[in-house]
Symmetry: C2
Subunit: 256 residues, 2 copies
Amino acid sequence: MTTATDKQAFHARLLEIGNERYHDKHPFHAMLHGGRSTMTQVRAWVINRYYYQSRIPMKDAAFLSRCDDPDLRRAWRSRIEDHDGGVDEGGGIRRWLRLAEAVGLDPAYVASTRGVLPATRFAVDAYVSFVREKPLLEAVASSLTELFAPKIHSERIAGLLEHYAFADHEALAYFRQRLAEAPRDVEFGLAYVLDHADTAEKQDAVAAALTFKTDVLWSQLDALYSAYVMPGRIPPGGWDGEQGVVGGPTAREAAE
Amino acid sequence: MTTATDKQAFHARLLEIGNERYHDKHPFHAMLHGGRSTMTQVRAWVINRYYYQSRIPMKDAAFLSRCDDPDLRRAWRSRIEDHDGGVDEGGGIRRWLRLAEAVGLDPAYVASTRGVLPATRFAVDAYVSFVREKPLLEAVASSLTELFAPKIHSERIAGLLEHYAFADHEALAYFRQRLAEAPRDVEFGLAYVLDHADTAEKQDAVAAALTFKTDVLWSQLDALYSAYVMPGRIPPGGWDGEQGVVGGPTAREAAE
């Protein structure tokens, strides 16, 4: 049984996890939003982050597949719709590929996920497995990094618009749209978690799930930083800075 | 149907994957074996690599759990025995903890896996999931990095003995033992794969599985390098260079 005060303290505990560990504190984002990333670094980010985007609907489908409460399924399903869009148009994945095009990448190459770093795959796949395997409460809790997303999306829109020629209304549609979607999703997820984590043990499990998810996000930036920020050590099979770039070397240099 | 020539060419193709991508080529190993690692880096390696060791028997149990051929299970089972040892003694995991002790770490801390980098977990867990989910032939193929292990173990034993005060017969028992075990395991796995990959499609799947496994190994060293080699960026929650070190700062400095 949780009192209102318990809930408030638990809510504060979750916010503190984001405060300490959310990936807005990673130096890769400071570079990206501050205009200090090369186009190769921007493209590497777009290629790798696409893998995360592409697995979100699979993660949410895994969630639905384990959920025997029709009301919970109905409330959750919009997440798949938001990312996949309709048969012919819309959806976060298509908007991300517009960003890929804007930064000079072949969207078909990005969608193939061929250039994705192994470490990105491992981190993202760990998230899908987590939602497939853990108790439902922890699966919901792992989505709560969305609590911290509006701030980073706003900073990103402002930073990219200020510093990069490719950034315009169309290229950044993904982030603008998430500013509308994320608060609704997270309001539901947060209320669910605050209601259902009604023992100290469940609160600890929820906190661990949110911590795990911050690790999933942070690791992706560590991998990008390690591979593409000087002295970059691109692992075997990682994107080489050339594959999938539209127009070849000339276009590449112009874009830098 | 494969001819002897096909098999030979396919065998050569597998060796070439190791030649290009096995983690003996990673700069972290060059540092470690060449005596250029600090004790903090050696300890970070021991802590993180323990996580890999600890998951190998779970990986092999996942393999057995999917395997309906008693002969294949009987041949495979020794891998679990090699790593776990008996109820009271023996086994690779206990030998690894002796190495942990030799480098000045509390074995109980290492065994808790608390200090393991998230990226290490994600990579290793991806390996366990792979063996749990993929066709049996690919699961066998993912073990074939053992083809390349004796060389790295020999180099490691020589390099550690030459360069580090902690290295002695007892501390390095894990690697000596693997020199005896790995060739037997890999002989079986290689023969299985050469016999069963009897179409071009299966050969491609085997090559992809071995490539995946080299990614699992490489990513672990990238994560170590990124966190603990200057300028190290230890991710939130990563081992801080102090936890679990026996004797505190004084012992730490002496060991450096």
